[in-house]
């Protein structure tokens, strides 16, 4: 080896050392910052729930006995209590069932498809099958408007939902994307740069949009907001004290079978505060603002559907059949007090449900117009409340499904 070659190699090693001295601490800092932000401020990157669900799939698949998975969006996450469901089935059908809440925020069909594929792979790897799989069909998540909602989240959600094999397969189609996915999934704690900047822009945009509205609020309304913040803080305090293990409700927890903290987990004082929060959140001004934002982001009244998203939902049903013989589609109750479908929206929804029925052949349980639910069962225009709506829906669903469980061994 000539002296110039060895000197060149020495310089190469020196270069790598200099790179490592800068790059490794920077990567460490990025991970530390994202982890600290999540530890301090909860699911601010919208990824914690997804990450915890993915980490818990093996546990779900390994669970013995009759199992049910309810997979869907934040409507499922907030509106379905597995423990209430199981207890109701037990009392009605005398059948022991273990259900899981696999609901996650912002779960449009393209994400749902990846999630269900991942679940199917996990069950296949363990040689197991779920007895019942309920797939939520949320009409306003399949609209044209929703397809364009928060595109900055897409890459990180997909990176987290994809299996290593799926990530690997992208290399041959799009090496650039492959490298991005690997970086997000394995080097950045699941948090993409787009999600951070996009989230910040989204928040700034929201603040700018809401500033004029906030300026118009009366003193009474401002007091109301302050009161609400105080109640929330008190409830969080109660939850921290009374439920130290399952307190982080957005993280998938085997203790609650993936469901959120229920009223039964709380002391009477805490229950009182929780009920008060639901009541306060239904303030007409807040509901009107929430409705407006749902109209803008999701076309919640007119429901102009996106064919691509509908197609992805159909694929999701097919994937669910890979790990369960009984797949059903569920539409959660609609807050009819606030969300009035336009005649065209109503017609489009009916036509789509017929299409889903024909294409999949599965049972569709539609609770959108169910008479048992009214405005007081929701905490906003779309989500069921912890104190009333969730227990009611979980038990209604359990009674309706009890017959199904009676037929199981």
């Amino acid at each position: 080896m000539s002296s110039s070659t060895s000197s060149s190699r020495r310089m190469a090693l020196y270069t790598m050392l200099i790179a490592a001295v800068t790059l490794l601490p920077a990567m460490g800092l990025v991970n530390w910052l994202t982890r600290s932000a999540e530890a301090g401020a909860g699911d601010i990157f919208g990824i914690q729930r997804i990450r915890s669900v993915i980490d818990s799939l093996d546990y779900m698949a390994a669970t013995e006995g009759n199992t049910l998975l309810f997979i869907g969006s934040s409507l499922v996450k907030d509106g379905f209590s597995p423990r209430i469901f199981d207890a109701t089935v037990q009392s009605v059908a005398n059948k022991e069932v273990t259900s899981f809440n696999v609901g996650m925020g912002n779960m449009k069909p393209s994400y749902l498809k990846l999630l269900v594929q991942r679940i199917a792979d996990t069950y296949a790897a363990q040689g197991r099958r779920a007895d019942v799989v309920l797939l939520e069909f949320n009409p306003f998540l399949v609209t044209q408007a929703r397809e364009q909602f928060r595109p900055f989240m897409t890459e990180q959600v997909q990176a987290m939902l994809m299996s290593p094999q799926q990530v690997g397969a992208t290399f041959w189609q799009d090496p650039e994307r492959f490298a991005r996915l690997v970086s997000i999934k394995y080097l950045r704690h699941g948090v993409s740069a787009e999600a951070i900047t996009g989230g910040l822009r989204f928040l700034v945009g929201q603040a700018q949009a809401q500033a004029p509205l906030m300026a118009q609020l009366t003193e009474d309304q401002l007091n109301h907001l302050q009161q609400l913040a105080e109640f929330r803080s008190r409830l969080n305090q109660y939850i921290r004290e009374e439920q130290p293990i399952s307190g982080k409700s957005h993280v998938w927890n085997p203790v609650t079978q993936g469901g959120l903290i229920d009223m039964m987990d709380l002391s009477p004082q805490a229950q009182e505060v929780a009920a008060e929060i639901s009541r306060q959140m239904r303030h007409p001004k807040a509901m009107a603002m929430d409705l407006q934002s749902r109209i803008q982001c999701c076309d919640i009244e007119n429901l102009t559907f996106n064919d691509k998203l509908v197609g992805e939902f159909l694929d999701t049903v097919d994937s669910a059949r890979r790990f369960s013989d009984r797949v059903e589609i569920v539409l959660l109750p609609r807050n009819r007090q606030w969300v009035q479908l336009s005649p065209a929206g109503q017609a489009r929804l009916q036509a789509l449900l017929q299409q889903l029925q024909q294409r999949t052949g599965v049972t569709i349980r539609n609770y959108q117009e169910h008479g048992a639910f009214d405005g007081s069962d929701f905490y906003d225009v779309s989500h069921l409340s912890m104190d009333k709506g969730r227990p009611l829906f979980s038990s209604v669903l359990a009674r309706d499904l009890a017959a199904t469980f009676e037929t199981l061994e």
């Binding site: 060149s8 270069t15 200099i18 601490p25 490298a179 004029p212």
Partner: protein, 470 residues
């Protein structure tokens, strides 16, 4: 393959290992560099690799012909072959549809509407950069400033050198060819400064991407915005294009340094310029010096009292080089005009008197006025159409506009201004403190780590560099 993506990091890491540990001899290295550069270029669009090779083969051959002939007419003829080939490639791929549209619009204006259709051509990335670079080689050989090479591989390695292939800086063969023929030993100072450039380039690019949002708000808006938001949008674009392009140049120069190749800096705190002439000595230096050496001087320079005409033509064509649109032509003509006016003013007594003023307050005014002029130019550069540009300029000069600003508009403006200042501070350090940085490198490491952390944390890999489209 963008510099600010994990894919490029992987590509470069692999390239670097092979470059340093396998291909250690100049011949092998040059060939490996060619292969790596072609892979890099094919990552954009493999269909245009033959075009790049064709451009290189023609100029390699033409240069030998020029050197081989002693008769001036023959030499000139061969040079013409190179110029026509390179400009022909540019004309077909970059300007054909612009010319067709312009003819259509002109005929339609005179009441003779015709439909000439459009050509289905895709603009090959980096075409403006490598054709200029390739042409400079044959011109240098013609002028006797460099000798024609007999070995194609180092020549083509120079032309296709991947760090600067798609967005410059535009290198001269005489600057870089001798380096690629012998691959000088990398020094520890090269490595340190290379890392500073790469890190700060990535940081600048990240900042530029953040500035894209307020700039887009203005330039993509269908409705007029408030005065404050118009100022913010224009300022944000000034910062965006500077951070984006100088960031890219810094990364390119830094990567080259890690390979032992020295490339001159391409920016020197341009918004600190005190006149339009000064601005062009600090902005995209490799292009402005290319235009000066190969176009302005070829037109006669400042001889025969034709300085103003030659400046104007040079800037006009410089504007057109940036893009096939009338907005770029206007931008070039605008800069040609303000540079010409600067030259004319300097010849007057008033100009000489002004030049003699040594008050710092006057220097601040000079700086502010130059920055204002440059920002006006950016409106033409960025606007979608001439109509949009004039509408934005109208809003920019109407502080009494009745349109209300969005909440926090003042805070956004202040942040944009601060960020532009920050980029300049970085640039100042890079240009003027190289020796200090390399001597006391450990002291700068925490800053580099912070810059890189910021970049990794929020640097969106999806944002392309603005100059790729040119």
């Amino acid at each position: 393959m963008l510099f600010n993506t994990p894919l490029f990091l992987g590509f470069f890491a692999l390239f670097f290992l092979l470059y340093c540990f396998v291909f250690t001899q100049p011949r092998g290295r040059a060939l490996f560099l060619v292969v790596a550069s072609l892979v890099f270029y094919a990552g954009w669009d493999y269909r245009f690799v033959p075009l790049l090779v064709f451009s290189g083969v023609v100029d390699f051959f033409v240069a030998q012909q020029i050197e081989g002939h002693t008769e001036q007419r023959a030499r000139k003829r061969w040079l013409l072959v190179s110029i026509v080939t390179n400009l022909g490639i540019l004309g077909i791929f970059k300007y054909s549809n612009f010319m067709i549209d312009s003819v259509q619009d002109t005929l339609s204006f005179f009441g003779m509407p015709v439909s000439l259709g459009t050509l289905e051509v895709v603009l090959p990335v980096g075409i403006s950069f490598y054709t200029f670079q390739s042409m400079s080689y044959t011109i240098d050989v013609y002028r006797g400033e460099t000798r024609a090479r007999r070995n194609f591989v180092p020549f083509f390695a120079t032309l296709s050198f991947f760090p600067q292939l798609v967005a410059g800086p535009i290198l001269r063969a005489k600057q870089i060819l001798p380096q690629i023929e012998r691959f000088p030993q990398v020094t520890p100072d090269d490595v340190k400064f290379g890392f500073v450039l790469i890190t700060m380039g990535l940081f600048k690019k990240t900042i530029a991407d953040l500035l894209a949002a307020p700039a887009q708000t203005l330039f993509n808006s269908d409705a007029p915005l408030s005065w404050l938001e118009t100022v913010t949008g224009v300022l944000a674009f000034a910062g965006q294009i500077y951070g984006d392009f100088s960031g890219y140049s810094d990364i390119a120069i830094g990567i080259a340094l890690l390979l032992g190749i020295q490339i001159p800096l391409n920016f020197n705190t341009p918004y600190f310029a005190l006149s339009p002439v000064d601005f062009w000595k600090r902005w995209h230096i490799s292009l402005s010096s290319w235009l000066r050496d190969y176009l302005y001087i070829a037109l006669g320079g400042n001889r025969n009292g034709r300085q103003i005409r030659n400046v104007f033509i040079t800037m006009l064509l410089g504007g057109l080089w940036h893009g096939a649109a009338w907005t770029f032509v206007w931008w070039g003509a605008y800069h040609g005009t303000i540079i010409s006016l600067t030259h004319l003013l300097r010849r007057t007594r008033l100009g000489q008197w002004l030049a003699g003023i040594e008050l710092s307050a006057f220097r601040w005014l000079q700086w502010l006025f130059t920055f204002y002029l440059v920002c006006i130019g950016w409106v033409f550069f960025r606007a979608e159409s001439m109509g949009d540009a004039f509408a934005i300029l109208g809003a920019l000069h109407n502080p009494a506009s009745s349109i209300e600003s969005q909440p926090y508009a003042g805070a956004v403006l202040a942040m944009v201004a601060l960020v532009i200042l920050l980029i300049h501070c970085i640039d100042y350090g890079i240009v003027h403190r190289r020796e200090l940085i390399t001597r006391r490198y450990p002291r700068f490491v925490p800053l580099l780590i912070l810059g890189l952390t910021f970049t990794i944390l929020i640097g969106e890999p999806g944002y392309e560099f603005i100059y790729f489209q040119f």
